[in-house]
């Protein structure tokens, strides 16, 4: 009993001593905790097309070039590059003194072996086709890489800036290292651990090539699939950053004094797509009527949490974007007249197929239905699951109307490829557009390319195989003390290099 009496104060003292050692209020050296909306299938950038993977690997690996916040390509592992021989050859001068996480220096051999790995069929990269123009890879010295192309390819540089072009160490590729679960790169953070479906832990790479970066000791990705739980995590201080596509919880976050919300344009073009191979939607007047009947800003605000109307098939923040929103303003009278001219009444019911796992699209679909009913079109909704949507709507074009968002990549070609031919799900055929898109692909001069793409976008804006509703915002909720968090909207990738806690 006496012993017990002694134990209690002793225990208390023992508990207090460690806390005294650390002065309170000092900067806590803790990793930045960010919610990830799902478990990545792999951390090997060359074996997947999953966004979740690239959201993580952006911090682990580097690419030769990379996009800045506006989407322009800037040097990364390559200090500079030039197009030679009318675009048939690209020369990269590599950065010197860069090392991988395992200590081996980065050389031109790593670039060559990595690119060969992507092209290799056994790797099974879903992006392999983007590299098909590369015929030969020359490495005259350790800091020079020359890509020999079969034909000039403007989109290639954007491909090399994307997450799936991450450069891996050559000696590990050759020894068959498992990058999927133990990634090794040259990026700002080193991989530490990954508990599947729970968390991914990265720690600072002290010898990163950007001087003074990164500023935080690490990044902890917490895998949380439910958005409302992410929000609660941020509010209760268990998370530092969350990425939201929806503005629903905004009022809740704004009320909290420790949290701030930043608004970023996504690379999405939200559309109401029309199957132009099916009457009555094959009639341009009907498609125009549908465009006149939609209040785009309203749909963006209610269904997608705010955004910017676009008027053509390109997102508002893209360097190639041009504003054609004046072609089809909201005008229900015009819509009714056009429908009357086309002889379309309520006797023909249009079927709107909605991907039911995307709540915003389902919400938008219900709003469209109501708006179209007001101008005298009858629309029936059918919810389908995602795989049915892909096979029935996207592949077989078995629908009248559907609602979806198109993501963009760094190069406009990836968004526009196949449009104007019957290979797209809107089945809109326009030979001029198709040939312009093919032509623009091989032109390296940015201004010449721009002129061609503007012509394409203008025709698409007039002929309206879609209602181009707009580009939505995404919202990033974070601690008020956090500065410098960046998102590259085209790649959907998180950049923690500039993050610091004040």
């Amino acid at each position: 009993m006496k012993a017990m009496k002694l134990f209690v104060p002793m225990g208390l003292i023992l508990l207090i001593i460690p806390t005294l050692g650390f002065p309170r209020g000092a900067k806590e050296e803790k990793p930045i905790r960010m919610a990830l909306s799902g478990n990545p299938d792999t951390l090997d950038p060359q074996k997947t097309a999953g966004t979740l993977t690239f959201q993580v690997t952006k911090s682990i690996y580097d690419t030769l070039v990379e996009p800045d916040e506006k989407g322009n390509l800037v040097p990364a592992l390559a200090e500079g590059w030039e197009f030679q021989d009318e675009g048939r050859r690209i020369l990269f001068r590599l950065r010197k003194g860069v090392t991988f996480h395992d200590g081996t220096p980065f050389t031109s051999k790593d670039v060559a072996i990595t690119l060969k790995r992507i092209q290799d069929k056994n790797t099974g990269s879903p992006h392999a086709a983007e590299y098909s123009q590369i015929e030969r890879i020359d490495t005259p010295d350790p800091s020079t890489v020359i890509l020999q192309l079969s034909s000039p390819s403007a989109p290639l540089l954007a491909t090399l800036a994307s997450g799936w072009s991450a450069i891996l160490p050559a000696h590990l590729i050759e020894s068959g290292h498992d990058f999927g679960s133990k990634p090794v790169g040259s990026g700002p953070f080193r991989f530490k651990s990954w508990v599947r479906d729970n968390q991914i832990l990265l720690e600072k790479n002290p010898s990163y090539w950007m001087p003074g970066k990164p500023k935080v000791v690490g990044v902890e990705f917490r895998i949380i699939t439910e958005r409302s739980i992410q929000v609660q995590g941020l509010l209760s201080g268990q998370l530092d950053v969350i990425d939201m596509y929806d503005a629903i919880d905004l009022p809740l976050l704004q009320k909290n004094p420790n949290v701030k919300v930043e608004k970023v344009l996504t690379s999405l073009v939200m559309v109401l797509a029309m199957n132009t191979s099916k009457p009555p939607l094959s009639d341009l007047r009907v498609r125009q009527a549908i465009n006149f009947a939609i209040q785009k800003q309203e749909v963006l605000d209610v269904a997608y949490g705010g955004g910017v109307p676009v008027g053509t098939f390109m997102d508002a923040s893209d360097p190639y974007y041009a504003d054609y929103t004046s072609f089809y303003p909201y005008n229900p009278e015009k819509a009714k007249n056009l429908l009357k001219d086309a002889g379309v009444g309520t006797d023909r019911t249009l079927e709107m197929v909605l991907p039911q796992n995307f709540e915003p699209h389902v919400r938008a679909g219900q709003i469209y239905q109501e708006m179209l009913q007001k101008v005298g079109l009858s629309v029936k909704i059918r919810l389908v699951d995602w795989s049915t949507w892909i096979s029935d709507v996207y592949r077989k074009a078995n629908y009248d109307l559907t609602v979806i968002g198109h993501t963009g990549k760094l190069d406009p070609d990836s968004r526009l490829v196949n449009y104007g031919t019957d290979k797209t799900y809107v089945r809109w055929v326009h030979p001029e557009v198709a040939s312009l898109i093919t032509k623009a692909r091989s032109i390296v001069n940015p201004n010449e390319r721009k002129a061609l793409y503007h012509r394409v976008l203008e025709i698409m804006a007039k002929e309206v195989p879609f209602v181009y509703v707009g580009t939505s915002y995404r919202y990033v909720g974070m601690r008020k003390t956090l500065e410098g968090f960046r998102i590259q909207p085209k790649l959907d990738a998180y950049d923690f290099r500039y993050v610091e806690v004040r």
């Binding site: 929806d246 629903i248 709540e359 679909g365 219900q366 109501e370 919810l383």
Partner: protein, 279 residues
């Protein structure tokens, strides 16, 4: 003392019975006269009046994310609810009767085959089976009704079979058969009427189950298609607004819970009251 407790319990029982019955009568009334009870159309959107809280003027239970009146949607939702409930219990009852009587009356290999089939169906989890049937038949109200009907056939079939066998072996039935009464007449006169109480009780309980599963199917997007009102669908749509507009979930949820409770209570009561062993 004991009597007093008993009386008290009876009182509570009576109270619950009364409320349950009243609530179900109200549902029936709401389904028939939805347009009288609901001030707004269940599908009309009013984007300027989104997420209004309950007890706002004109929207007694508030509005949802598209500015639709929640009360009107709940009231109109009763129609599909009762329709699906009644029809699928009807299908299950009819199917169960045929299967059960065939199995019970013929016996032998027919009995084994039918019961094997029924046990096979029963071995699947109910919701999973319903989802499978719906994905084969396609989405929509009719398909969901048929799916739920099929799913619950075994429950009735087993009951009917057991009843049929036990009735057919009773003395009065055997003497009636000895007197030369034709078999169909025996079924109609003796077997069927005797199993009625059990069937009624089973139907009510099944009804409650059907209601819940219909809501789950709508929640999964397989049942009622938007913008038509359905309680399950309303719950699904409310999920994203739980913190901001909890009323979107609370009211359809309450209505659903009350419905299930009422049916279950009534079912229990009926099976107790109609049980011939009481006398």
């Amino acid at each position: 003392m004991r009597i007093r407790i008993r009386r008290k319990r009876q009182k509570i029982q009576k109270f619950f019975l009364f409320t349950s019955t009243m609530y179900l009568c109200f549902l029936l009334f709401a389904a028939v006269g939805s347009s009288y009870l609901a001030p707004h159309s269940p599908t009309t959107q009013n984007l300027n009046q989104r997420l209004l809280p309950p007890f706002t003027e004109g929207n007694i239970l508030g509005t949802d994310d598209l500015g639709r009146d929640i009360w009107s949607r709940i009231v109109h939702g009763t129609r599909s609810l009762l329709l699906i409930g009644t029809l699928s219990v009807g299908i299950a009852l009819a199917g169960g009767l045929v299967m059960g009587i065939l199995a019970g009356a013929i016996g032998g290999i027919v009995d084994s085959f039918i019961m094997l089939l029924m046990d096979g169906i029963l071995s699947f989890p109910t919701v999973l089976l319903a989802i499978t049937v719906v994905s084969v038949l396609g989405y929509g109200l009719v398909q969901v009704t048929v799916a739920l009907g099929i799913v619950f056939i075994p429950v009735f079939a087993r009951l009917v079979r057991a009843e049929t066998i036990s009735r057919l072996t009773e003395g009065y039935v055997e003497s009636s058969r000895a007197l030369g009464t034709p078999f169909p007449k025996i079924l109609l006169r003796h077997v069927l009427p005797n199993m009625m109480p059990d069937l009624i009780a089973q139907s009510t309980v099944t009804f409650a189950l059907v209601v819940v599963i219909e809501a789950s199917l709508s929640f999964l997007g397989l049942g009622t298609q938007p913008p038509e009102p359905s309680w399950g669908l309303m719950l699904k749509e409310s999920r994203n607004f739980l913190y901001q507009a909890p009323w979107m979930a609370v009211f359809p949820g309450l209505a659903l819970a009350a419905t299930v409770f009422s049916f279950n209570y009534l079912g229990d009561y009926l099976s107790e009251q109609l049980n011939p062993q009481r006398w």
